[in-house]
Amino acid sequence: MMRLRRDELMVAGGGIAAIALLSLLPLFSDGFVLSFGVNLMLYVAMCTAWTLFSGPTRLVSLASAGFFGVGTYSVALGLDFLPFPVLIAIAAFVSAALAGLVGAATLRLSGVYFVIFTLGLAELIRQVVAWSQSRFAHKMGLYVFTDFTERDLYWMLLALTTLVFGVGWLINRSRLGFALRIIGDDETVARHVGIATARAKIVLFMASGAFLGIAGAIVAPRYAYIEPQAAFNPMISFLVVIMALLGGTRRLWGPLVGVIPFTIVMEFITARFPNHSSVVIGITFLAIVYLLPDGITGRIEGLRDRIRHRAAARNGIEAPEAIEEKAA
């Protein structure tokens, strides 16, 4: 039986309260606010799933749109034959299998190969899907008609987000999470203490991919008409990366801080200046790299540490480092 520390219980309590509060949103509003809520919740789920892998390993995955599209297509293809929950399971399974293949090909080598491979992955799948559709089905798109309302989608995405956080928390406590922290700090050390680094990374990438696939499956009914161009839109991958990095990936909840402002900004820009979105994304990327290398949460934590340090110095208590130096 797992034992929980007191602060962990408090975080868990806070989380449950937040989820309960968020789940009330559809009861109070519909229309624009709810639709915006679905957008927000979608990106929260996807960015958290992305951070699950890319946070501890520091490998930037640009394949989110690939998994998202696989999930969307799983629903679109099977909707006439199978119930929705089964399709979600299929989406998770296929995405995880895809992540496993990509991981097996690239994660045993240096990180750069992984980044390059994921860069074109969504486009690759899009080409293959488009080709097989025109070749075998002689049509470009698929219809998805369900009884789901925006409200249902919102709740499902909230449940997915909760699940991602839960799994992330469990992984963090497990041997796998411990192994990943060591890999993130120094991969050579990790290999020397006997961690199967490639396997750990592949397992985690599969989990992350599965969640991204589920996210795609959940929002499939929203599109009504699904074609490769929309389902495998590479912009999805880039937005996920940028929001997660903006928030900070050192904590699993870091991306939350980035998703909310950036979704609002993007909503504004696509409405007012649709031609400028690439420029804005480019500038945000550069700003993150040069000004916020650890994201907003990383910056806040840095500031907090400094303030504590100063407060400690003012109270005449020696900073921990100073004590260590004396001891040495």
């Binding site: 520091r58 930037v60 090909a105 690239t106 080598l109 990180g111 750069v112 190969y113 980044v115 390059i116 491979f117 860069l119 074109g120 486009e123 690759l124 080409q127 293959v128 488009a130 080709w131 025109s134 070749r135 590479p234 880039f238 990095l245 031609n275 400028h276 979105s277 690439s278 420029v279 804005v280 994304i281 480019g282 500038i283 945000t284 990327f285 550069l286 993150i288 790299v289 040069y290 290398p293």
Partner: protein
């Protein structure tokens, strides 16, 4: 046979683009994801020179290359050198440079989209048949191939027969030891990055003579160049050239035998094969 010749002609231009990237990644240690944007920008400049001023693209290339060299030097000096200074090890620089050039990719692509829109552009230059072994090929493709061979040969002479070129190769092998033999590593890295940009711009200029281009196709070409670089072995000039020819032929074969929509899939198939069997590159030696 026709497929092999067409593919090889295409591969010549690919080789120039990939040589640019391999210099930037191999010697300057910058994984430049905005490489394709340099290429597209060169396409547009060549287009503008030709249609507005009647400048022959081959002459245009002589104008475009120095400008691309200067601009890439500035990009390195202003944007990337702070990252090189900040990075504690090569892995960190890799992550930072990927993200920074990724941002640059969007910025440049966005600016070009604003300037030219998403439409496709092309112009007619030497669009007449040229017979090789009794089969007709576009003269513009043949000329682009010959020009690419000349530029690549110049690069080879430079890298292997001049002091500055030897310095670039030394930095590619080991920046720390290069310093011990009085090579200015920071300067040489900037030079290699700028030279890489100039080569890619040459590739872009040649590409524009026979290829229909638009503002957002840069990423696809970056992807192709990356695959070629990895196939050839990072920093390996001869390997990259061979890999470019293989990629050109494979792509042409898939496009003409199966479906033109599957070229990226063909690239990926090669990529996966290389990753699985020869991750050190087709001509590379296994690392210890």
């Amino acid at each position: 046979m026709q497929i092999i010749v067409t593919g090889a002609l295409l591969g010549g231009t690919y080789a120039l683009i990939a040589l640019g990237l391999t210099l930037q990644y191999g010697a300057a240690r910058i994984m430049n994801l905005a490489n394709g944007e340099t290429l597209v920008a060169a396409c547009f400049v060549a287009f503008w020179l030709f249609t507005a001023m009647g400048v022959n693209p081959l002459l245009g290339m002589v104008l475009i290359a120095p400008v691309a060299f200067a601009l890439n030097w500035l990009i390195y000096a202003w944007l990337l050198r702070p990252l090189v200074r900040r990075a504690k090890n090569r892995g960190m620089l890799e992550v930072d440079s990927i993200l920074a050039t990724f941002g640059l990719l969007f910025l440049l692509q966005g600016l070009m989209l604003l300037g030219f829109g998403g439409a496709y552009f092309s112009y007619k230059f030497l669009a007449e048949p040229f017979l090789i072994l009794g089969e007709p090929y576009g003269l513009n493709r043949v000329v682009a191939f010959v020009a690419a061979v000349i530029v690549a040969s110049l690069l080879y002479l430079f890298l292997y027969h001049t002091r500055q070129g030897t310095a670039v190769r030394a930095v590619a092998v080991d920046p720390a030891s290069s310093r011990l033999v009085a090579i200015d590593v920071a300067r040489t890295a900037a030079f290699a990055f700028a030279l890489g940009g100039a080569l890619t711009a040459c590739g872009g200029t040649l590409l524009s003579t026979f290829y229909t281009f638009n503002a957002s196709m840069g990423v696809i070409f970056t992807m192709k160049a990356l695959i070629i670089v990895i196939m050839g072995g990072v920093g390996d000039v001869r390997g990259a050239t061979l890999a470019a020819l293989i990629l050109g032929v494979t792509e042409t074969a898939v496009a003409s035998l199966i479906d033109p929509g599957l070229t990226l899939a063909a690239n990926y198939a090669l990529f996966v094969l290389v990753l699985l069997f020869r991750p050190q590159g087709i001509l590379g030696r296994a690392s210890a």
